[in-house]
Chain length 405, copies 2
């Protein structure tokens, strides 16, 4: 991609009212723009990162045996009434009527919808267990949006729902999802703490938050010195844990919930045919990851004074190629060679921009590898990683062998 043709460019000055680093940097570097408070456009650069995060989550969920599907965004309000969540979640639930008077909720989570689609089938013990998930837009009518993508009113969520014949079988899946989440966060470059938490209006008896320690976070939790016990401030039991507990702040990037019989008790026909043929209630769990918040948290964890430092796994491009020569032929050719070997290159081909501004933009945008072609580099190419201060002059063949690693 040529930077001159990219929609959504950097701007010179950060906005001083944007306190969180992710908010400020994602705006300044041209990854996102706010539509109205708490509702965001992902510009082409931001969309590339978002897609890479989605693909990593999808790969790991599929490897774990989960099956992707998709539900409507508008949920029939009667389903939320069936579980009484119009009351328990009402403060952040948006509802609407269509022109025939049918009532809908803009879903914050989709437990009722997934139970509703499952009960459209006559399932038996042979069909269990299964874990079905979707990536879909979710809505929270938050009183205050804050911190850019950290707390928003509309966002893409990966939400998964698992159905089991009994608690024992569910527990295997809870462990499976715990391990899957650990792999996902590791791959996107986040160190997470798994924190006991409260089920809130989701329902069920226990759950765990995946939290990234950060001063920009709103999740207050306590952790033991050996790291083996961690609990959210709402559920911490200082009697249960005898040692010293340290208070921390973090960003909640995902959750796993035991739901048990919460939904199958409240909803009609939430059953499967058991081995003897009689209907039995299924035992459930659910598992969520907010995509935008995960993206912002990666920026909180990976930036410096100059800008973002994307981990390779989620970077919008792999290489930022800067041309400083008046004659563009050498850079044009390198751009073609790199595209030929399927490297993702953002080529800063701008002619009306100073070298200093190009270097500043490279640091701000945070693509892992920066290449420079200039009079000074002669026949060679300057190579520098965003996460290092050291630059090297490489021949084209040295460069290619380095990129292949």
């Amino acid at each position: 991609m040529k930077y001159s043709k990219l929609f959504g460019k950097t701007i010179k000055e950060p906005q001083s009212d944007m306190k969180a680093a992710s908010h400020r940097l994602l705006h300044q570097a041209g990854f996102v723009r706010e539509s109205t408070a708490g509702r965001y456009f992902f510009l082409p650069l931001g969309n590339l990162v978002r897609s890479k995060i989605i693909n990593i989550i999808r790969e790991e969920m599929n490897k774990a045996g989960a099956q992707e599907m998709i539900a409507p965004v508008l949920h029939p309000l009667e389903l939320w009434k069936e579980t009484n969540r119009t009351d328990t979640a009402s403060f952040e639930l948006t509802t609407l009527k269509d022109r025939r008077g049918a009532e809908f909720a803009l879903g914050g989570t989709a437990e009722e919808m997934f139970v509703d689609v499952v009960r459209k089938f006559q399932i038996s013990y042979r069909d269990l267990p299964f874990n079905i998930y979707q990536f879909s837009q979710k809505f929270r009518d938050e009183l205050r949006a804050r911190g850019g993508l950290l707390r928003v009113r509309e966002f893409l969520m990966k939400d998964a729902y698992s159905f089991h014949a009994n608690e024992e079988d569910f527990k295997k899946e809870y462990k499976n999802m715990w391990d899957t989440y650990s792999r996902i966060y590791k791959r996107v470059g986040l160190d997470t703490v798994v924190v006991e938490s409260d089920n809130g209006y989701i329902g069920g008896e226990y759950c765990h938050e995946f939290v990234v320690e950060s001063e920009a976070g709103e999740s207050k939790f306590f952790i033991s010195e050996d790291g083996k016990y961690a609990a959210h401030e709402d559920v911490v039991d200082k009697n249960k844990y005898k040692g010293k507990l340290i208070e921390k702040l973090g960003i909640e990037v995902g959750n796993i919930f035991q739901l048990g019989y919460h939904y199958s008790n409240k909803m009609d026909n939430a059953t499967f045919a058991g081995e003897e043929g009689s209907p039995q209630k299924y035992y459930m769990g659910c598992y969520g990851i907010g995509i935008g918040r995960t993206l912002a948290t990666i920026v909180e964890a990976h930036h410096d004074d100059k800008g973002i430092i994307w981990p390779d796994s989620v970077a919008p491009f792999q290489v930022y190629l800067i041309n400083l020569n008046k004659d563009t032929s050498k850079a044009d050719e390198l751009y073609k060679v790199l595209q030929g070997i399927k490297w993702q290159v953002l080529y800063d081909d701008r002619k009306d921009v100073s070298a200093g501004a190009k270097f500043a933009d490279a640091d701000l945008i945070g693509i892992p590898v920066r290449l420079v072609i200039s009079e000074r580099t002669g026949d060679k190419i300057e190579y520098k990683r965003r996460d290092s201060d050291r630059s090297e002059l490489l021949s084209i063949s040295q460069l290619l062998s380095k990129l292949k690693k």
Copy 2:
């Protein structure tokens, strides 16, 4: 994937009230389920087809130079007021208020949103042209939903918006998108007719529909005997075309629109800095494809009495493997071998289902290649394509070389 573990299985009897073949077959074969009228779940099988269609569209749009991004689903209602579309589109526009009283529209298309994000940047003639697009949920408050996925109230749409310095430049992109759409429909297995049409509440002066001839369609159009002139019934000019015109019915699967200055005239600051620095209005076009309707249209075009016949490019799996032996070891091994060479296999491993039922399900689901392992096939494997009546007995090495083609 093992069929025993798949969520969303076939059902024995089609529903007689489902008139359109795509409606009936996608329901019976376990690809979709209706939530409320006109709002659909895509089950895992349906989601796989949907993803393949999305990926083909994305590949072709990117090749054509368009840039993917994503806008919020809730559009500030004031934007729709700015262009007066609250009146012109009001009959199918759903609106809502959040708890602070802010008003939103559930977007049917997103012209205002895309102009709004573009005007957040100070763009100049150097930044033009660009074409930005998204895959996002769209809403139409239709009085009557009908025909399964053919006319719905909520659906995923690929919508693209292009911005140009002048009409001449726009015309190149209109041609580019026309060609891109032709490639997309060809790849997903659809023969389209490009039909002159009416811009309706989208605005602008001219547009073209991509239509697939079908008795299940609602789009009535006229076409000349040589196929060189085709126009929707609303805009057909029988004086303009002197020859004989034939009346046809078809399904509208996509549109390309000239918008001209329609939106940049109505919206403030919809401008770029020209070469002399003064603000000039940009010239626009927009380009839409409905994903669910495209999927249903593929079924209308590719089915027989027994079920769906998916084109290879969008099939949910490449191979349907049926085991009829009591001993599963041979089929288990073939399943592993095929997975090893990255073939997408749906393995019908059910033990409580007759051979006849498995063959019927294979035909109903419509995966391109069916493989059977039974006592009758001995050391070999029975190979049959869904679109052919001929079956062959192949050794494993013959099979692998056939699949590689």
